[in-house]
Subunit: 904 residues, 2 copies
């Protein structure tokens, strides 16, 4: 046979290289790479993916594989001076899967192979303590019995048969924890485990180490085709033909006496970014003991004193690895009888502060170039620089004291504390008295906007990451925890209940952590972030903040590298100003309806809706116009000449009317209409599926006077600003277009009114008119639509709803099940679904640009702030992404990363 | 100039031919064709579309056109011995637009050109009566003033300025009707009209005939670019560059004395199909007098006696035209001083009975081939052969007596009478007492199904042609009038109100005409149709019904010619049996949820929904299984080996729960659960947008036990029938799939259960598993889905909802406006939207067939019975269409017509 199926690694004699990923799998290639750099890795060998492919094609291992494995096993034995199956110096092995691309947790692993009654006794002698040896044996039999011999629970509700035996043993011994079982107990467990295998599977547990090894290898190959792995591949477009490699590696022990030990170390401090080894270790212990926290580990500095040689070796390895991987590493190591082994290395997780310092430092040190530095930061982490935080000491104390009473979805990051209120009116009232409040609602609606604005934070019982509360909260920069089903609100009694008989009444203080989703009793102190103090509050000068200077430098690298513009979703001057400070280059979505909820405004709006004829509607709209015009002027001023995409009225009219009897009665009085008539009108407007109802451009078409008024306000504001010497670039956006004729109809209205005003005022405003692409039909007929549109903006939220037929509000019930059961990879409301929604976007971009090469194309759905979606938008050639103000830095970095990755 | 811009027609000297449609427009080519066949058409000439194109490119008529027109005008004068502008023998002209394809009503027409004070006086002398002459003059000035001079209302609410003047005149004269105005009044009107033109438009009304003519031609050309015409072209994909021709034709007069007259005639009797001229005429009258009904016309037979030569000439023309156009013709003719002129010919509208007789006769006579015969019948007309009809005498009397109290949408054709009831329970109760009832509801829901079944007909206040009532009503073959907003139901008082203070109480009798949408007071007698008596009731033997024999022969021609199979939507054995008799070749959609609404069943269903865990759900489902299995067995028996596509549970679970307090209380008692718990459960299940909520396969995925039970019932029933020696072909359809993994998940459940049963029973059932394509994403990813699906079935109703973002229930509010204002051509819920929804269908067919060449593809949405949609389905290569049982003959004919037209 010519084909080589086995590749050795470790002990300076490695056969593979980093480039042999297809043949050795990701893990195998990584192990080869580490040993080639000179890192002491426990020796072993990789059985190639080709062997796996052969196995599937022929139903058996390739001829000659056994001999190859024997040869390589001999090299491992030689390197470690241990022998596989030997009683005195037993060598134990692990077998792990590893395919070309990582499929985390989908395939099988078996540890501690080579143990039987005799080698376990030998190991016990070797360790000088029988308990850890028999614990390894117990774990091995359990793992092998499950993975290789298939002794598993039969249905989802069944208990694990091994755990059942352990539970029985603990009951017999009257102990609560596994660690309380003695060496004898563990030996007895092994016997019972084996008996269970014999009884349930009709076969003896294999005592022969080589039989164990081949069983594990076979099992790892077979696990390539288990249902979960198949589903995962289907979901991630991984070809079935690739197969997996099997990595056979020696096990090393840190618990062989006082010259052994285990530890973990970072190459730089993961909290501050400071350079130098940071971590902890335990003498005479395995890695899991360090993590378990039963014994208190020593700081890594102690190692330098106790075992200076080992520390020097570790430090050298750390520098090598950091240099090689060009990033901070998180290492696991074991010292077996004075010999250092590195078990694992990976990029180290770090706080945003550390990430920033490390990125800047490593570029200065020449370890990274700027592109690598940009890629080293998770875009989401940038959030941490802008949001208020809890006083860390108080937060820790609160957690320790058990004051965390519930947990929801972390929809709007940051920290907030205040008195609980249950409706928007109370929020306003409390806030007017100067009190800080947390608005707690079952869910929010547009009527709550003023109240949300007056609150420190928002907590809702229902709704997902893209619910109204989450969406508006994020846009306002509010701390926001949604979908917190742990709590139950009783509006009548003005209180909510939480698990453990906790009851929180109106006026009592709580704190919510929008970064973690936690709800805590009592008010914790919050602090504005340093970057925010410089950028927005201006309570700190840039020159006094080294952190700000690093942040600004880092962001400037991102801006140099990205091609996508980053715009923002904002509908108030202050939001707009903040977004511009965060780097927004325009407004991608100004939702005009948010302007209709103030006191006078909602009244005029309701007058308009309840008017009996066009004249009545026009009169009410004329009341609204000056207010809208002033809003727009404020926004134009805050933008300083940047473009503003302003959407005409979108929500169904019933959203502006009250639904509770008392409010209806009040409104009837206010409007001077009989209550009966008002109730009838509200009933007429009610819809079965409001999402697909009379909204969007359908309103402006049936009631052109609405579009007229809004155009008048926009162009009027533009004229006002122009007179002030400002530049203005309004872009009027028609929502929910499905047929070109809808857009055409509205464009005619807009152009007529705009020309009228410009003629009368004798000025020219360079305005555009375009459309949202938010239902499949507009994407499919983008060529027709682009002929009349100046721009497209993808409303991916509605586009996702209609493409899947998923209601954003109702889908959480099954979407969670879908993601858990790998029917969908991601929640399509968080990350754009590339195969379906994305295909429509690509069709729209392609058809649109062919029909109108000048077409400006962006995205303004909530997806516009999602890094994965931003990468996709870069790929398909959009001009900009638009997201909520506080996500602008995230989007700038994500856009830069997308450009860097696309160039690779 | 080489280009010829003017083509003569009439008087045996025609220059154009039928093939010159592009140059002469449709109307011009038709006039040329008629004269070439030898039909006496009033002479005239066509100014070509090229002249119009020149006019648009150069802003003026082509050089030389005036001379060409003069020459041809001379030929017209010669032929008629009249002169344009002459006082003694005035020639009057019409100018009509005519483009390549018909754009009905979109462009301009001017009649009676050539009249001024002098020629009008001449015409009066010629007629021997000033009134008709001055009436023509008045009409001319009004039409010319509006069309050419642009004196129109300024806004939609304004009155027409000419009508305003007429109204004032009638007030002055104290008369009510236009015909009561005298010749002098009319002359005065002309003066006032002209003065109004002068005042409002600042120009004199042109007295010079040639100026009038050129103004009219210019106006017809200009009307090609009026906003309505542009919108129409955009909607119908007609290129702007085509331009229109202008047809200038002489006016002829039937009111020049007793040797003149006008009439209309059919070449065969339009009610019975009997061969021979059929119609009526009036001596000394214009065409409009025949239609106006002020004088009673004579039957055409009288013409044979009075003017045998004219009659002979007319008869000859009729035969020529019938032979030429190969179809029955509807003619308008005028006799001017003993000379016959044919003004218009078109295919004659006829009743279904006449259409059938004519088709059969003409094929026998060799006038048509079978394909032409098939094309001569409107598919919709076949409905008339199956539906009960009112006793025609009673119906006529009722209309005359003003007993028609309201009108709605004609959703389910036929005639029904009965006592009014307002809920399903009462319908059942009345029906059990043997009383005929009409179920009157605001709208219906699945809970009403039993009640609908027990009724003669259904009348709803709300909902469109594809509302629940319409859909289920049609499937049941019920007479159905929906969206009858004229009525207002008061459930509490058990009555409804109709316009004119009519109040109808429970138990009072009404009749509804599902063919016209009329609602009548009192019970009219109904009669089953002859064809139904043969096919379904079997109260008439086929050999005793010549009509049936014609029907059967005609349908056999259709079956020979079509390629599409026709399946049916049915979920009861009796519906299935009827559909098979109407020619259905399988079931394309069996909605299993309709089976869950019986007494025991709904209880078990509710138990399932309210169960606290899987075990409880399984127990309730086990109660349902035997009932479902028996339903399926009944359907399989009725099908006799034809395939049956059975859809797993589709609607959201809340549809099965009551919503009114009293019913909820009752259910809580029945189920033995606290009312509070039940209310909470109902609240949990409530959805914002149920259409996009937890329904379809999303139910079967989260609760696999539902799919298991349904599979068990389907395969179980198949085994039962197989044991009886029957052939069975079940096809299990998974609804609302958006991602292949959803289908894959459900297929695994179906296959596991099916294999289990077949193994246990030792038989093999040849079953298929496939999916609905009813959301855009499944169409877009059809290649992925087709790999695991045996068949696709387009659910075009939901696909239309999601592609447009239109809720079927909520859209009527704006859809009506859209269709009225030409934003959409058709209601997309009635005829498939080819550019959007159709594009998705084409993508799905193409991608699906590439991935799986064996893929069976059909359509089961309500569109499956729409002839235009059927033609589209033929074109894109579907295998079958599925429609409600009573539409099967319609679909068979439509499929044949599609095949014939596609082959042309």
């Amino acid at each position: 046979m010519d084909t080589k199926y086995v590749y050795f690694f470790g002990d300076g004699a490695t056969e593979g290289t980093a480039k042999m990923r297809d043949l050795l799998g990701g893990k195998g290639a990584g192990l080869a790479e580490m040993t080639n750099v000179g890192i002491p890795v426990p020796p072993g060998f990789t059985i190639t993916t080709e062997a796996c492919v052969y196995y599937y094609q022929n139903g058996d291992f390739p001829p000659g594989l056994e001999e190859e494995v024997e040869i390589h096993l001999g090299r491992v034995e030689q390197a470690l001076e241990r022998r596989f199956g030997d009683v005195d110096t037993p060598l134990l092995l692990s077998v792990r899967s590893g395919s070309r691309v990582s499929m985390p947790g989908m395939m099988d692993t078996v540890l501690n192979i080579g143990l039987n009654d005799k080698t376990a006794a030998g190991l016990a002698r070797d360790m000088g303590d029988p308990r850890p040896a028999y614990d390894s044996y117990r774990r091995f039999v359990q793992m092998y019995g499950d993975v290789v011999l298939g002794l598993k629970p039969e249905t989802e509700d069944d208990v694990d048969p091994f755990e059942e035996i352990i539970e029985r043993m603990k009951n017999d011994r009257g102990v609560a924890l596994d660690v309380e079982l003695t060496a004898e107990d563990l030996q007895a467990l092994v016997k019972q485990f084996k008996a269970a295998v014999k009884e349930r599977k009709g076969r003896d547990f294999p005592a022969e180490p080589r039989e164990q090894l081949w069983g594990a290898i076979r099992s790892v190959f077979a696990s390539w085709d288990n249902p979960r792995a198949i589903a995962y591949r289907q979901l991630n477009n991984i070809p079935d033909e690739w197969g997996t490699a099997a990595n056979v590696q020696s096990m090393v022990f840190g618990n062989l006496g006082d010259d052994s030990g285990s530890g973990v170390a970072f190459t730089r401090n993961p909290a501050t970014g400071e350079k130098g080894l940071y971590g902890e270790f335990l003498v005479n212990a395995q890695g899991e003991d360090v993590v378990a926290g039963i014994r208190t580990p020593l700081p890594i500095a102690a190692l330098a004193e106790e075992w200076p040689d080992i520390y020097g070796e570790l430090d050298e390895a750390a520098v090598k690895l950091e240099t090689h991987f060009r990033d901070v590493q998180d290492l696991e190591f074991t010292v077996e009888r004075g010999r250092l082994w590195l078990l694992q290395t990976r990029a180290g997780k770090r706080t945003a502060h550390a990430a920033l310092t490390i990125a800047i430092d490593m570029v200065e040190e020449g370890l990274m170039n700027r592109e690598e530095a940009l890629l080293s930061m998770e875009p989401e982490q940038l959030n941490q620089f802008l949001r208020p935080v809890f006083n860390p000491v108080q937060k820790e104390a609160a957690v320790r004291e058990g004051r965390v009473i519930a947990k929801g979805l972390n929809a709007g990051p940051g920290a907030a504390a205040g008195k609980v209120v249950f409706n928007a009116a109370d929020a306003l009232e409390f806030a007017e008295r100067g009190e800080k409040v947390i608005l707690v609602r079952a869910e929010t609606s547009p009527e709550d906007i003023k109240g949300m604005s007056a609150s420190q934070g928002i907590l809702t019982e229902r709704g997902g990451m893209t619910s109204h509360a989450a969406l508006v909260g994020r846009q306002m920069g509010k701390v926001c925890v949604v979908g917190c089903s742990d709590i139950h609100i009783d509006y009548k009694k003005r209180r909510f209940a939480a698990p453990g008989d906790v009851v929180v009444k109106e006026g009592e203080e709580i704190s919510i952590d929008g970064t973690t989703g936690e709800v805590l009793l009592g008010a914790l102190e919050t602090e504005p972030s340093e970057i925010k103090r410089v950028l927005l509050d201006e309570t700190l000068a840039p020159e006094d903040s080294p952190l700000y200077r690093k942040f600004a430098e880092f962001m400037s690298w991102a801006d140099e590298r990205r091609r996508l513009m980053v715009w923002t979703n904002a509908d108030q001057p202050d939001q707009t100003a903040a977004a511009v400070k965060f780097g927004a280059q325009g407004i991608g979505l100004c939702r005009t309806e948010h302007m209709f909820f103030g006191g006078d405004r909602i009244t005029a709006m309701r007058k308009m809706i309840l008017a009996r004829d066009e004249a009545g509607r026009r009169a009410a709209l004329e009341e609204l116009r000056p207010m809208q015009q002033e809003d727009f002027a404020g926004i134009f001023r805050a933008l300083g000449g940047r473009p503003a995409v302003i959407r005409t009225l979108d929500p169904p009219l019933h959203e502006f009317l009250p639904h509770e009897p008392a409010q209806i009665e009040k409104l009837a009085e206010q409007m001077g209409v009989p209550k009966k008539e008002l109730v009838a009108k509200i009933r007429t407007l009610r819809e079965q599926n409001p999402m697909l109802g009379h909204r969007g451009c359908r309103l402006g078409i049936v009631y052109p006077e609405i579009t007229e008024m809004q155009t008048r306000a926009i162009i009027g504001a533009a004229v006002d600003c122009l007179r002030e010497g400002l530049e203005v670039r309004p872009e009027i956006m028609i929502p929910l277009v499905s047929h070109v004729n809808e857009l055409y109809n509205q464009i005619l209205v807009v152009r007529r009114v705009a020309e009228e005003i410009m003629d009368a005022e004798g000025v020219t405003i360079p305005y555009k008119v375009g459309t949202m692409i938010e239902v499949p039909r507009s994407a499919l007929t983008a060529d027709e639509i682009a002929l009349v549109a100046d721009f497209f903006s993808f409303g991916t939220n509605d586009l996702t709803q209609t493409t899947f037929g998923f209601s954003r509000d109702d889908a959480p019930v099954f979407l969670r099940y879908y993601v858990d059961h790998m029917i969908l990879k991601d929640n399509p409301f968080e990350t754009v679904d590339v195969n379906g929604v994305g295909l429509l976007m690509e069709i729209a971009v392609e058809k649109g640009r062919v029909a109108n090469p000048q077409l400006e194309i962006g995205i303004c759905g909530e997806h516009g702030g999602d890094p994965a979606t931003i990468a996709y938008c870069h790929r398909i050639g959009l001009d900009y992404v638009s997201c909520s103000p506080y996500r602008v830095p995230v989007a700038r970095l994500a856009a830069a990363q997308a450009a860097i990755k696309a160039a690779e």
